[in-house]
């Protein structure tokens, strides 16, 4: 039985509506998962939006909608933007994947850019950052700096990106400190300051003196500051207000060049569907200033590691690496391919916890 239907007539009406917008001024829309004031993920997307708008000096208008849940509401919010005349729409969370594709089907003349997903179409691109490169630098510093040999990790939702980050940080901490142990707390949320603060405290009370986070608020930073003798890293955003201690460095998502690039392509009429996965080399992943709380030699090593990745000389997932169960994942000298990284759902050997599912 075929109950599936297409909004054929509506789609025609819609594309007529958007075609009326001339190239003089284009509109770029943004769909945010959180508030721009989260200080992390959404904050950086919003910063990039503003910088992009400033860069085009009046030629580009931007609109955004915040706190869009990853539910049926997302599809409507995206449709609303397309109806409102947006020429390019950036949907900045994984859960917007299917809604983005569904709306894209109805608006063939609007360009869509979905962050962190894997499904594309003629008018849908995907983009993401190789955060795990930044995690390698963090892991190195963490392994060198820990005195208790216990590193706490506040994890959000068990998806490949987060698991990749844990593995990358662990491998590079282990490399410089064989005794290092990881304690991982899963919060199943990207943003909940009270939970993040509690989790940070629980990790610290269990002996961790380094806290890594894959959640977006600065609450763990504040908890670490209160505890003293604990170091942290900024996540998604620099979180420089907690430098020089507890925050000793950070991973910064810098979406500005990408947004300028993509909007320019729309202005030029050269936009095509692409799959972008950039890291330190293009500046999409930035390493925030390493503060003086880190000894000079450790800082130099960390920067060397960063430069090696930027130059493409070193890949954080280079064998020999075993999976958690002891089976071989990468042989000596073998480098992980993007396909297996994209779907990573296992821990590497040495991590004692289990991937929740």
């Amino acid at each position: 039985m075929k109950r599936r239907t297409l909004l054929a007539s509506a789609a025609i009406a819609l594309s007529l509506g958007t075609a009326a917008f001339a190239q003089e001024e284009i509109t770029a829309g943004f769909i945010y998962i959180g508030p721009p004031g989260d200080g992390g993920w959404t904050y950086e997307h919003d910063q990039a939006r503003q910088k992009m708008e400033a860069h085009f000096e009046g030629k580009v208008k931007t609109v955004y909608q915040e706190n869009v849940p990853e539910s049926a509401d997302a599809e409507r919010a995206i449709t609303q933007m397309a109806l409102g005349g947006a020429d390019i729409i950036f949907t900045t969370s994984f859960g917007y994947m299917d809604p983005t594709l569904a709306v894209a089907e109805k608006f063939p003349n609007v360009k869509f850019e979905h962050a962190t997903g894997y499904k594309r179409a003629d008018n849908v691109s995907t983009y993401s950052a190789r955060f795990y490169e930044g995690r390698a630098v963090q892991g190195h510093i963490a392994g060198k700096m820990t005195k208790t040999n216990k590193i706490g990790y506040i994890a959000s939702v068990p998806i490949p990106e987060v698991i990749r980050g844990i593995n990358s940080a662990y491998l590079h901490a282990k490399k410089v400190n064989p005794d290092v142990e990881f304690s991982i707390i899963w919060l199943y949320t990207w943003f909940d300051p009270a939970k993040e603060a509690d989790a940070a405290r629980a990790l610290i009370e269990n002996g961790a003196d380094v806290i890594l986070q894959h959640t977006d608020s600065t609450a763990p930073q504040a908890a670490a500051q209160e505890a003293g003798n604990v170091i942290t890293f900024g996540q998604a955003s620099d979180m420089a207000e907690y430098a020089p201690l507890p925050r000793v460095s950070s991973i910064i998502d810098n979406w500005t060049p990408y947004y300028i690039d993509r909007v320019q392509a729309v202005l030029d009429g050269t936009w095509t569907s692409t799959d972008t996965w950039d890291g330190i080399s293009t500046g999409m992943v930035g390493i925030g200033e390493i503060t003086d709380a880190v000894p000079a030699d450790v800082k130099a090593e960390a920067l060397a590691l960063k430069d090696a990745m930027a130059a493409g000389e070193y890949h954080p997932f280079t064998g020999p690496i075993n999976k958690q169960d002891g089976s071989v994942w990468l042989a000596e000298g073998e480098v992980a391919d993007d396909g297996s990284l994209a779907g990573m759902n296992f821990y590497v050997e040495g991590i004692t916890a289990e991937v929740p599912n």
Binding site: R3, T5, E70, A102
Partner: protein, 360 residues
């Protein structure tokens, strides 16, 4: 000296008039709020209340109104019957989630069959899931006298955790590259709750909502069970003398509410939402409580209140994108609407008396 005097009978004029007055007051105070936030109040009010129905893109928004109002009405109808009986189920969100999980789970177990029976099986499983989740507070209340407000509410958080767990585990899409979320029902025709007429927003959940409105109307005004429910709520002791079994009323009310919330969840997850994911629920179960009260616990009232609430959501989102108003302003606006309705409601049962000091 102003005081309230109880009317011998509820005023007909005020019953109809007070919601209109409340909407008007909300528009005025809301307009002031929007002006304070730097937006043109008239344009904002027009964006919220007028454009979705009559504006340029109304062909899209009218359908979305039904999509948004459908689950709200369906859940609110179930809740209102319980509220009439004094059974305070405020955990419909949990029943909604469990219905979606059970229904979707039953369907996914049969993937990728294209049998015509799949969708009906899923609907039944969804209804059962919501019903069972509501039976927990019902059993605890009748067996141990445990407060159903709190149990049903706590179970929302439990359901939320189950939802996250299954969307990253049991029901996770095996072809989903390790990301959370089930298969997308929109890509599986046999299980897809598609629009019945393209572009109208009319899916099975909306149909079910209309049936529920009619059913509740008949039940409450024509059927002995409806009479017993009202009696239990208004005069529990009299109900007992009349031979009404209070436990049976609790089971009936919670069960019905759970069932309706469960199918609402199933229709949502197989239709507009498309998949089980950690955030598909979007708070419908809580908003439905407000809808039930806005509609004065009356089926027709709930139908209108559901549509009105949907309008403020959709218009509110439009005001966010086109006028860049913060989402919180819309939330506040909805709260005001409820407040003003409750405030003006007093005139249905009471009249104002000026001057003479009473013996009260």
């Amino acid at each position: 000296m102003i005081r309230l005097e109880k009317r011998p009978q509820p005023s007909q004029a005020w019953t109809a008039g007070s919601p209109l007055l409340a909407v008007l007051l909300t528009m005025i105070v809301g307009g002031l709020l929007f002006a304070f936030l730097g937006a043109d109040p008239f344009e904002t009010i027009r964006t919220i209340f007028w454009d979705p129905i009559f504006g340029e893109f109304a062909f899209y928004y009218r359908g979305q109104l039904l999509v948004k109002a459908g689950p709200l009405i369906l859940i609110a109808i179930g809740l209102s019957i319980g509220f009439k009986a004094g059974v305070w189920n405020i955990g419909a969100e949990g029943q909604y989630i469990m219905g979606a999980i059970c229904g979707a789970g039953a369907g996914l177990a049969l993937y990728p069959s294209e049998s015509v029976l799949i969708f009906p099986v899923m609907v039944i499983a969804g209804a059962l899931g919501g019903w069972l989740w509501a039976m927990i507070p019902a059993v605890l209340k009748t067996r141990f006298g445990t407060n159903e407000i709190l149990v049903s509410l706590m179970l929302v958080y439990v359901a939320q955790n189950i939802l996250i767990s299954v969307s990253t585990g049991l029901l996770r899409n095996p072809d989903g590259m390790g990301f959370p979320g089930s298969r997308n029902f929109k890509q599986w025709d046999a299980a897809h709750n598609a629009e019945l007429i393209a572009g109208t927003g009319m899916h099975w959940g909306v149909v079910a909502a209309f049936i529920a409105v009619i059913g509740a109307y008949v039940l409450m005004s024509r059927h002995i069970t409806g009479f017993n429910i009202r009696l239990t709520g208004e005069a529990p002791r009299a109900a007992r003398f009349a031979g009404v079994n209070p436990a049976r009323i609790v089971f009936f009310c919670l069960g019905l509410a759970g069932l309706l919330a469960g199918v609402a969840g199933l229709f949502e997850v197989t239709g507009p939402a498309g998949q089980i994911s950690g955030a598909f629920n979007a708070g419908y179960g809580f908003t439905a409580i407000i809808v039930a009260f806005l509609g004065r616990l009356h089926p027709i009232g709930i139908l209108l209140a559901g549509l009105l609430m949907a309008l403020t959501y959709i218009g509110g989102e439009a005001a966010q994108t086109t006028m860049q108003l913060p989402g919180a302003a819309i939330q506040l606006f909805q709260g005001m609407l409820l407040f003003f309705l409750l405030a003006t409601d007093v005139f249905t049962n009471f009249r104002l008396r000026f001057g003479t000091k009473g013996v009260a």
